[in-house]
């Protein structure tokens, strides 16, 4: 039923939420063209934008009740959230790469998308969706925005602690490839941990 659930959401997105898709393409391209920094973080934002918009529309119509009434397992519903977020992340990456290429031809930045850069983009996106999915599952789309802001405040607070900064310096000393490897490892771990948290939320949630 995972395939059917993904198909259901994509029919909804492509047939009924075309305005969301068009804004997503325009925002992705524009953001990716602003600077290298925004290009690298854009896939994370693109995945977030599509995922969040879909969930917000679903919440408006109480679509979660419809999904809960379908002959599917709660685990499948949870898995689909992650698969869709991954798909959104992957389809956001070419937009970002295109933005970098356009930057290069318009501004002459001479920075082209490399495999390493794509990996970093993917890692950032993975961490971003790992945070947002359980928040949306638990709090709903409206409250989850505040939850995410509080979470980022917490992360900044933790990152400013001396012990954490020393640990980060040690990781930075590993070298560029090693850094990316560690970063991707952390991103994958956070994705798996996030899935387990969401699964627990879905299994114990009352759909009403």
């Amino acid at each position: 039923m995972i395939g059917q659930l993904i198909k259901k959401d994509f029919i909804h997105l492509t047939c009924s939420l075309r305005s969301v898709l068009i804004s997503w393409i325009l925002i992705c391209l524009c953001l990716a063209m602003v600077s290298v920094g925004t290009s690298v973080t854009m896939p994370a934002f693109g995945a977030y934008m599509l995922f969040y918009s879909m969930k917000a529309y679903e919440e408006r119509s109480k679509g979660y009740l419809l999904t809960a009434s379908l002959p599917v397992k709660r685990k499948e519903v949870c898995k689909v959230q992650y698969l869709e977020a991954l798909i959104f992340l992957i389809i956001s990456m070419p937009c970002s790469a295109l933005g970098l290429l356009l930057q290069n031809s318009i501004k002459g930045t001479k920075i082209l998308p490399t495999a390493m850069m794509l990996l970093v983009m993917f890692g950032i996106g993975l961490i971003y969706v790992s945070i947002i999915i359980p928040c949306v599952a638990y709090f709903g789309t409206h409250k989850s925005r505040y939850a995410v802001i509080i979470f980022y405040g917490f992360v900044v607070g933790v990152a400013s602690v001396d012990i954490v900064q020393n640990a980060l310096r040690r990781v930075a000393a590993i070298g560029r490839v090693g850094n990316v490897g560690v970063f991707i490892g952390i991103a994958c771990l956070s994705f798996l941990l996030s899935y387990e948290i969401s699964l627990w939320i879905f299994k114990n949630k009352d759909f009403k």
């Binding site: 039923m1 059917q4 198909k7 259901k8 029919i11 909804h12 047939c15 009924s16 939420l17 529309y57 679903e58 408006r60 119509s61 109480k62 679509g63 979660y64 009740l65 419809l66 999904t67 809960a68 009434s69 379908l70 002959p71 599917v72 397992k73 709660r74 114990n204 949630k205 009352d206 759909f207 009403k208």
Partner: protein
């Protein structure tokens, strides 16, 4: 959709805890809200939902769409309350569920649409051999459609009986006030209403009523609404 606090619910021998998806495949639901995306066209909603059911019957779907004259190109949010209920019913019936749960399906509808929906339901019930669990405040709908009645008041079951048996056996007794004053007789009454002039009581059977009140009282058969009013009114002596 809700987690169990205690106990177990079984439908067709299947537990809602372990076989939820198998049970949900057998159930069709019409209620408020159904969760269909407001911004979607009806044809897209059908395209989203139909693949989940192995038993989906496209011919049946088209038959009901034609019957209710539903325009599938319309968006769900553009439908009137009656049209929404009709579409909800079409979607619930088209996957040929064994159990149909209808939560106030005719609430807020005009009598013509209401009657049309009830007719479709009754025809479907005869053709497909399904059970329908129907909750409503409109007692005339129940008199037309139901076989078995459960009356719930403040979360407690006040009455459960076959409709025909209830309407043919239950009896309203009317008579002078003194007839209803005996405490022994009051114990046999399911409900009682008294005024300064006389009284009325609901009794379980005609035979029992005649034994208790004799020739002095008059007897008549109640309708479902009257039974509900007697049961809801407690014993007002």
């Amino acid at each position: 959709m809700l987690r169990l606090d205690t106990g177990e619910i079984k439908i067709d021998g299947l537990s809602t805890t372990t076989d939820a998806e198998k049970i949900k495949a057998k159930i069709g639901y019409v209620g408020e809200p159904t969760g269909y995306p407001e911004e979607s066209q009806l044809k897209h909603i059908k395209k989203m939902i139909a693949p989940f059911y192995e038993t989906w019957d496209e011919t049946l779907f088209k038959k009901y769409v034609k019957h209710f004259k539903v325009n599938l190109d319309k968006k769900y949010e553009a439908l009137s309350t009656g049209q929404k209920k009709q579409f909800d019913l079409i979607m619930a019936l088209s996957h040929k569920p064994e159990l149909i749960i209808l939560d106030e399906p005719t609430a807020g509808l005009d009598p013509i649409v209401r009657n049309e929906m009830l007719e479709v339901l009754m025809t479907h019930m005869q053709d497909e051999k399904v059970s329908i669990f129907y909750s409503t405040h409109i007692t005339s709908d129940l008199e037309k459609t139901c076989d078995y009645l459960v009356y719930i008041q403040n979360g407690k079951i006040r009455l459960q009986a076959e409709k025909d048996k209830l309407l043919s056996e239950y009896c309203i007794v009317k008579g002078p006030k003194k007839l209803f004053e005996d405490k022994e007789i009051q114990r046999e009454m399911l409900g009682i209403k008294q005024t300064s002039l006389g009284g009325e009581a609901l009794v379980r059977s005609h035979q029992l009523a005649r034994e208790l009140f004799g020739e002095e009282a008059t007897y008549c058969r109640p309708n479902i609404e009257e039974v509900m009013l007697f049961l809801a009114g407690e014993r007002r002596v």
